[in-house]
Symmetry: C2
Subunit: 206 residues, 2 copies
């Protein structure tokens, strides 16, 4: 089943995407299998090798394994709809952005207008390194940002970004009915003409 699903969710071969990029998708069904510390270390190291403005590396990752306090404090903030499928996920990761550049010497910390952007880039790297190790990821915006901030005492200079589920692919059979249908439907994306322009909203000829 897992293999059929991976074929279905693979980006269409005719697009010619690199295999790593074509294989990544966002499952909701996870197997009862742990991600090793060694793999997790590689995955988060890969995240850290993303590009960032001034090489600030504004990303912070809060990593929780199921059964541990950190996991519970992340899970607690998820919308009920996400909690419904996340309960089988072995690993939850919250991403945070430092909103200012690290000051040099005595200077004041300047706002980093690319902090969220760069955390997004690091997170994409995380997902891709994960899939290269056979590990899946699913990013969520459906959680309470302020509750997550409170649960971890995250100071004001940081912004809560996203919550990520991470683990090995499981069977969609265990999912609630509504999610089972989403899990087994094809992926869709906008055509290039809707997002690649030469002038504003004027499609590039490619």
């Amino acid at each position: 089943m897992a293999t059929d699903l991976e074929t279905l969710k693979h980006a269409p071969a005719e697009l010619g995407l690199n295999e790593l990029l074509a294989q990544r998708w966002s499952p909701r069904s996870y197997a009862d299998k742990l991600v090793s510390d060694s793999d997790l270390k590689t995955i988060l190291t890969a995240a850290g090798w993303a590009a960032s403005s001034m090489n600030e590396q504004p990303w912070r990752f809060l990593v929780g394994r199921r059964g541990h306090d950190t996991y519970d404090k992340i899970f607690d903030t998820l919308m009920p709809g996400n909690q419904a499928w996340v309960s089988t996920v072995p690993l939850l990761i919250a991403t945070i952005a430092r909103k200012t550049f690290t000051p040099r010497g005595d200077e004041e910390a300047k706002p980093n207008g690319w902090a969220m952007h760069d955390v997004g880039a690091a997170s994409a790297n995380m997902c891709l390194q994960a899939i290269s190790l056979g590990i899946h990821t699913h990013g969520m915006a459906g959680f309470n940002r302020e509750q997550l901030r409170a649960n971890f005492n995250i100071p004001e200079g940081y912004e809560v970004c996203a919550v990520w589920a991470m683990g090995y692919l499981g069977s969609p059979e265990v999912l609630p009915e509504h999610y089972k249908a989403m899990e087994t439907s094809a992926r869709t994306r906008k055509p290039l003409s809707e997002y690649v322009f030469t002038h504003w909203e004027e499609a590039a000829k490619l």
Copy 2:
């Protein structure tokens, strides 16, 4: 020379990163060689297969080839320090985020608090698909966001994110002296203990 540089800039092999992630870096020296339409199409398609909140795909890419109006309107906004090395770059891309979710039916457009984040993820995909085709990228925050908005009449509901240089690697010999040194120095990243936590600012044991 290009090959030596690529060895120097490769993430350290002992980190065990996937080759695609390990190879990506941000050069400032570009060869006088065009990126084909076909490769550019694949690269921007790969960007579009990134994950995004609600599958909104909030990204827009303004793509300019050297000698064309779009290129000039992007180049014009760059800080002089970036203009100094960008002048040999064959392709400039500005990234934009739609700040609201596309409304369904008659509902009002709701703010998308993940727009910049998701454009960052799509941009990471772009860079990785590019490097898989032997094409390099360099993201810049050093440009005038409001001038870019004005040059393209980008409406208020959108946020200007970054400008990307894209092309084939050239020789650092053509760079201004200051950049030549940066181009030929090793890459550095924070250790995991500075950005992977189980509690706030408490390093995860990995």
